[in-house]
Symmetry: C2
Subunit: 228 residues, 2 copies
């Protein structure tokens, strides 16, 4: 499903070059459930942005479903993203003037789903994350963890092929984190959705099948559960 080869990403901040990703080669099969882990600043969100077609690499190639995404135009990338990928951003990125339900509906508007169906599907997604009673609250009227869960519901609502979640439980208590992981697992098992989660939490990492470890922009480990 996903194949990255010798991928690099260099940022320029002022007069300095930041080598955010160095020579990343990795592959992910359809239906996998894995975590990307590593220290703060190691390149996890940068990698997720490229996986999610939100950003282009500086060099190297990224094949998604056999298609070379690094060669697409911005519009073509946006189209791939909207059809195939659900994204939970590290900063949630909710639209401040839309309530929870309307934020969750956004991917369905792109897919030209009728209003009544959008509202129904958004409510189902909010129920999955335990927020049906907050459907009409604005983001500013929600707790940090509730905003995070709205962002998760928005990523699920379209039944995408792949869900990329950047620190999806960073603002959640232990019990809510486990509930969210159960939701992810069910979607993975029943609908075959591929999950790539960025996390600092070793407990979340342990609940996945495979962990890719990143440090200073490079992969330093790739291990699966059940192997000793």
């Amino acid at each position: 499903l996903i194949q990255m080869e010798a991928l690099t990403k260099v940022y320029q901040a002022g007069s300095v070059n930041v080598q955010a990703l160095r020579d990343i080669t990795m592959s992910v099969d359809s239906g996998e459930f894995l975590a990307i882990m590593g220290p703060s600043g190691s390149g996890k969100s940068t990698l997720m942005n490229i996986l999610g077609c939100l950003d282009a690499p500086s060099s190297g190639s990224y094949l998604l479903d056999g298609e070379d995404v690094s060669q697409l135009t911005r519009d073509q990338r946006a189209d791939v993203r909207n059809r195939k990928i659900g994204f939970v951003f590290q900063g949630f990125n909710l639209l401040p003037r839309l309530n929870a339900a309307k934020n969750v509906e956004l991917p369905l508007i792109y897919g030209r789903v009728k209003p009544a169906d959008r509202a129904r599907r958004a409510l189902i997604a909010l129920e999955l994350v335990g927020l049906q009673d907050r459907a009409h609250h604005l983001p500013t009227e929600l707790s940090g963890g509730q905003q995070q869960r709205v962002a998760i519901a928005r990523a699920l609502v379209n039944n995408p092929e792949i869900i990329l979640a950047d620190e999806p439980t960073g603002n959640l208590d232990t019990r809510t984190s486990r509930e969210i992981m159960e939701v992810f697992r069910k979607l993975n098992e029943k609908q075959g959705i591929t999950f790539i989660l960025v996390t600092h939490d070793p407990e979340i990492g342990a609940a996945t099948d495979r962990r890719i470890h990143i440090r200073d922009g490079a992969i330093e480990g790739d291990e699966r559960s059940g192997c000793i």
Copy 2:
């Protein structure tokens, strides 16, 4: 130092009343190092906003250094806040057009510190959180955990009486979290700064002297380390 009596906070979202805090009575002595813990949506950030004089309660009283803050005007609250309190927000709240150093300098501008001293003190604060090499990056040029650390540096730079930190390690890996907790502990021991941390992380909670547990807007537990 802090005394809350029968404090409540009710929000209105649309036609519904949300009872975010119910009858909170608690006191904190100068120099304490404690955590506020509880499930997502239980009222922690609401309590922090009132402690930090960013918001007023719906009823009840809040005495800070013997002064009834709930009766102050908005300007008077802002003055207390700027002099006495350093705040790490759950959402970081960095100014997007200022780089890390300039964001950290903000509390010193209020205190009318000279530009050369501001720059020096901001750099010291950034060194404490390991980000001296990112001083000139904008928030958008920083990782999530780096933005969180800039927010922490900004809260420290003024040597306030009290530091309120809402989920200060939510975006940090284990090692960086421990380094931040060491910085907090040193400031508490050497300068007597009072620390109130909101956290979901039991490891962070275990590293404090006292934990106040909140559920559905009410205090359901208040326990200290070293007592059985």
